[in-house]
């Protein structure tokens, strides 16, 4: 499936993506192999804390767009744990959710059709101001008004 990163279609990901349980097993055996993991909505992202340095990609799964647990997972990874690698949204990823995802710390998006890239780029530009500080580094309007 096509992947969008920084507004562009990039090569499909390589390598094996593990469930959280198998990832934790692999990581316990040899941390060098612990580079990609897929979180399901009820997984606890805080379990990844010991492996953040070698982790390259955390996929966060959206079985349905309306299941918003992935936003909390991404926020915890970025803001609580300071994860610097890729956070990739997979599953029911729609253009109209894109901005919420970007702001929550996602930086890669698996989408169904490659011609959607333009629509996704447009969606990321629909707002110029945000009230809340968020994982995208935005400080929020409350602070911006007095800076």
């Amino acid at each position: 499936m096509p992947l969008i990163k920084k507004g562009e279609i990039v090569a499909a990901p390589q390598g094996e993506v593990n469930t959280l349980d198998s990832f934790l097993e692999i990581a316990a055996a040899d941390p060098k192999d612990a580079i990609m993991v897929r979180l399901m909505p009820d997984d606890d992202p805080l379990k990844l804390e010991p492996y953040l340095d070698q982790l390259e990609v955390v996929e966060i799964s959206f079985p349905r767009y309306a299941d918003g647990r992935g936003y909390s997972q991404a926020q915890l990874l970025r803001r609580r744990l300071g994860f610097k690698g890729e956070i990739r949204a997979v599953g029911d990823v729609l253009r109209d959710q894109l901005l919420f995802m970007l702001r929550s710390g996602f930086d890669a998006f698996e989408i169904e059709k490659s011609d959607a890239a333009e629509a996704f780029a447009a969606a990321s530009q629909e707002y110029s101001q945000f009230y809340q500080p968020a994982a995208d580094g935005e400080v929020g309007v409350f602070a911006r008004r007095h800076s």
């Binding site: 909390s72 629909e126 809340q132 500080p133 409350f142």
Partner: protein, 553 residues
């Protein structure tokens, strides 16, 4: 009142543009109704039985005269001349064409209004005491905090796809007019031992299929920590709230299944774990900036009593009654808080015509510092009227059909749209309300009965708040026939309680005579005329009233 700065204006304008694009994609057939649904639902657009319905946010129910005029204009130009106040202090238009909605949103943006988060599984309009800033009962004006919560919750990146909708209410008065104990989060402004202002946090109240009274999980959160604490509550709910069953997805179910103590511990742990980088910077200068918009208007220094008011009451008994029933004490000497009833006998509760909106806007401009409030009980309020001006205000309202003297009386009914308008309803509710109003039309009789809150829902989703009616009425469908279940003893104030079902359901035509028997029983047994129905119920228990309800059988 709050005024937008360039940040607020940009967000609302960009929202209107975004939705225009989404509607265009739908009208061109680029997206299906199924794909469009989540988009319109983020913007207050529902598909009802007959047409699309547009719900517009009135943040904490506070409205300026020019905003009311815009509603009147929308009612005339895009609807059938009416609007409908909701129990979230919002307004609904029931007949707006989808193609016109982008234009309506542009018109709203022009007067600093929007339809953002009036539907969908997100944080909805924050509601408050309709007398905020006017009553002497409160320790502070809760509205600056409602506005801060509005801004914080608008397009929140983490909390826009919650398990279910989420409602917050704030009050700062001991007597709770904002029903904070039947909200997902209720905030009660308190002072701590050091004299600082903060918030008691009540979580897990709600109505619907499984009603609960909320529980206090924190006695005091300081102002500077409120948003961080709310984020902690929201994150616990977003992560652990049930998503397997829409009817068990509200936070009240999570609180109840987890246990209130355990839930409070989860929130505290999440709150404690927040790193500095996660905390919301809310500078004192920003609190002060927003609070300044809610500073008291330029009141005149007046004596406590007004001779013009006393004279008018002496010569016009109907005015005297209206003034007694529909006005409340103001914190400023010589002023009064006026409730404009939107419950005239025999009309749908909460409906107002464009003409009535214009009249209300005129009155607000002339007599109430341009301010209007919408109440969760579906009435309007002029918060700051001089006693000297009350008679003129009354006469103007009277001429516009807005002077029904029934605030908090038996015909001041909360009612959902019911089967006449709503997809979800099992039974009609507006005709039942109208029949009851006709039965108790005699205003002197209503006055004698005193405070009595009847609330009617056309299905178990409880939009008409029947669970917290002193007398609640719930419409149910039984094999194609409408029946009405009666509950007693619900209340949404500081002694919040869920009403208890009295017994078998009644046919629509049997409801008015049955309630008449209940009322007669109450008048017979009350200890004195000032003992309200709800007090008599508490003192005597439900049995005498149940007997009266079914006495015809």
């Amino acid at each position: 009142m709050y005024r937008y700065d360039e940040f607020d204006a940009a967000i609302v304008k960009e929202r209107a543009e975004q939705f225009r694009g989404q509607v265009e994609r739908r009208l061109k057939g680029e997206i299906t109704e199924d794909q469009f649904k989540p988009l319109r639902l983020m913007n207050g657009v529902y598909l009802q039985l007959h047409a699309y319905m547009l719900r517009i946010a009135i943040p904490y129910g506070t409205l300026r005269a020019d905003q009311m005029r815009t509603f009147a204009h929308i009612a005339r130009k895009y609807d059938k001349g009416y609007g409908h106040w909701t129990t979230r202090q919002n307004i609904q238009f029931n007949w707006v064409a989808l193609k016109d909605i982008p234009d309506v949103l542009d018109e709203l943006a022009g007067v600093e209004m929007h339809a953002i988060q009036t539907s969908g599984n997100c944080i909805r309009n924050t509601t408050s005491d309709q007398f905020a800033g006017a009553t002497a009962e409160e320790i502070a004006d809760p509205r600056p905090w409602c506005e801060i919560i509005r801004q914080w919750s608008t397009f929140h990146p983490e909390f826009s796809f919650l398990p279910r909708k989420f409602k917050i209410a704030v009050t700062a008065a001991e007597h709770d007019r904002a029903a904070i104990r039947v909200h997902d989060i209720g905030l009660h402004m308190r002072k701590n031992a050091e004299g600082e202002t903060g918030f008691e946090v009540i979580v897990g109240g709600g109505q619907g299929r499984t009603p609960h009274v909320g529980v206090t999980i924190r006695d005091f959160v300081g102002e500077d920590q409120l948003l961080d604490y709310l984020e902690a509550v929201m994150r616990v709910y977003n992560r652990f709230g049930r998503r397997d069953n829409k009817y068990k997805a509200r936070i009240k179910i999570l609180v109840n299944e987890t246990g209130a103590d355990e839930f409070a511990k989860l929130v505290e742990a999440e709150f404690e774990a927040q790193k500095d980088a996660e905390k919301i910077v809310l500078p004192q200068a920003e609190i002060d900036r927003i609070s300044a918009y809610f500073a008291a208007p330029d009141f005149e220094t007046l004596p406590e009593a007004s001779s013009a008011f006393e004279e008018a009451k002496a010569k016009d008994a109907a005015f005297a009654r209206w003034a007694r029933v529909n006005t409340r004490a103001h914190k400023q000497a010589g002023y009064s808080i006026v409730t404009i009833s939107c419950k005239p006998i025999g009309a749908p509760p909460g409906d107002v015509s464009h003409k009535q909106m214009e009249v209300t806007a005129d009155l607000a401009e002339k007599f109430s510092f341009e301010e209007i409030r919408i109440t969760h009980e579906q009435n309007m309020v002029l918060p700051h009227v001089k006693l000297d001006d009350l008679y003129e205000v009354y006469q103007t309202l009277e001429a516009a059909g807005l002077a029904t003297a029934n605030y908090e009386l038996i015909s001041d009914i909360i009612c959902c749209p019911g089967l006449d308008y709503c997809n979800l309803a099992n039974a009609r509710s507006i005709p039942v309300a109208q029949e009851l109003q006709n039965t108790f039309a005699d205003i002197e009789r209503q006055d004698d009965i005193g405070e009595l809150k009847i609330k009617i829902s056309g299905c178990i989703n409880a939009c008409g708040h029947h669970h917290v009616g002193h007398i609640g009425i719930l419409g149910v469908d039984r094999k194609g026939e409408e029946f009405y279940q009666i509950t007693f003893g619900g209340r949404s104030d500081e002694k919040a309680a869920i009403g208890q079902i009295a017994g078998p359901g009644l046919r629509a035509e049997d409801v008015p005579p049955a309630l008449e028997r209940v009322i007669e029983k109450y008048r017979e047994v009350r200890s004195e005329p000032s003992e309200r129905f709800i007090d008599a119920l508490e003192r005597l228990g439900h049995d005498p009233f149940k007997e009266a309800l079914y006495a015809a059988d």
